[in-house]
């Protein structure tokens, strides 16, 4: 809450182009936003590129923040939108054959406590780009299938299908990573 108040107070400084305020906002938000960018990007390099572009957009278009939601939420949305733009710009073909071979009837759930975020991230980044985008947007950001379909210019059915397959893929990969460190229901 304290951090939120600080970020909100930095907004005024950023609005008038105060460089110190901009730097403070960057240092307050960069790490968290890089975490978001890393989930969407296929590599750390791409994630840093998205973060940089995203912050430039934040500072240049700060006037478009109307205070409807939290300032942090607005910044996060800009990062996600930048990641989507980057994906659409670098769209790398369709789905890989590997995804078709995934066995979907996995009846296991995982305890991720023992896993490091970096490990999870590595698995997520191995997802085909389209699947990763849909999974991030739906499972981690809370977008609807309709919104995802519009943003990625795919059908809602494709969005649902890709989400399902992405989950199956991730679970399979997590199972392989954890070995016996999962519990069966």
């Amino acid at each position: 809450m304290e951090q939120t108040v600080t970020i909100e107070s930095l907004y005024e400084g950023c609005k008038v182009g105060n460089r110190q305020a901009q730097e403070k906002l960057y240092h307050a938000m960069a790490s968290k936003m890089l975490g978001v960018c890393l989930r969407y990007a296929s590599s750390t390099f791409e994630a840093e590129d998205v973060l940089q572009t995203g912050f430039i957009k934040v500072f240049r278009h700060i006037d478009s923040y109307r205070g409807a939601g939290s300032f942090e939420g607005w910044i996060r949305r800009i990062m996600v939108n930048t990641a989507i733009e980057t994906y659409r710009k670098n769209q790398r073909g369709g789905l890989s054959v590997e995804m078709e071979e995934v066995y979907e009837d996995t009846q296991q759930t995982f305890s991720m406590d023992a896993l490091e975020c970096e490990d999870l991230l590595r698995i997520i980044q191995t997802l085909p780009d389209g699947y990763r985008m849909v999974f991030n947007m739906y499972a981690l950001e809370g977008f609807s299938h309709k919104e995802i379909a519009e943003a990625l210019q795919i059908s809602e059915g494709a969005s649902k299908s890709q989400l399902s397959r992405a989950r199956t893929w991730l679970k399979e990969k997590l199972k392989q990573l954890e070995g016996g460190n999962y519990e069966s229901r």
Partner: protein, 265 residues
Amino acid sequence: MNRGENKEFDKQLRDKFEGFRPEVPKGLWDKIATQLDEAEPRSVVAMPAKRRRFPTWWMAAAAVLLVACGVLYWQSRPVSVTYLHAHVDAEAEPEEAAVEPSTPEEAPEPLAEPLDLERLKRVFAKKGRQVKEPKPLSVVEGEEQPEEALPIEAVEPQQLAVNERTSPSPILLPKQRDSLENGQTEIAGVPDIEPLVVLEDEEEMMLASTEQRKQPFGISNILNYVVGTVDQRDEKLVTFSNDEEGSLKLDFNFGLAKNKKRKLK
């Protein structure tokens, strides 16, 4: 895999990533700051970019002016000074040859417009000379006839005297009656009117030629007014003027253009 399991799986991932704070590369802020610094000059550079449109305006204005000049020149060309000079030449030469064969020193006088005073003198001189020819018309009545040309003032009293002597009674002479019937009362009464009319025509023509020469001044004034509306500085980049022959002159202020470039830098 049911919906509840999926939701649980998503929530676990969300919670896991909620506290995820990867290390940010140290140089990233400098890159962002540099890019923001570049963005600010860009907005400053946008001003010269706007100014750069000014020459485009100038080019458009200059193009319009050139077209206007061309059209105006083309329209004014048939009525130009050249035509009038030619017209005056054609008439002046035979007239002078006919009128003053006895004075060869005045014959080679140029056609170029003399001073007004000189022109008036010439007009009056011609008037005096031409009085000679109408004289015989008034002398039809057989009175004494002076051979040399007389000035108008000298002739009129004489004519009045003749009239007094020849027509003391209201009865007109037969010849005089004929001339009145033909509507030539002026010839009978004032012998030098006919040559005067001829000379006035010539004078009007000459005055007309000077009036028409003033026309290009109006064009340059209009063009200068147009330039003035576009360029509101004290010194104009382009100024128009007319020379004595009526040609349109375009003066370009290079110094002003150079100063402008320096300001942009």
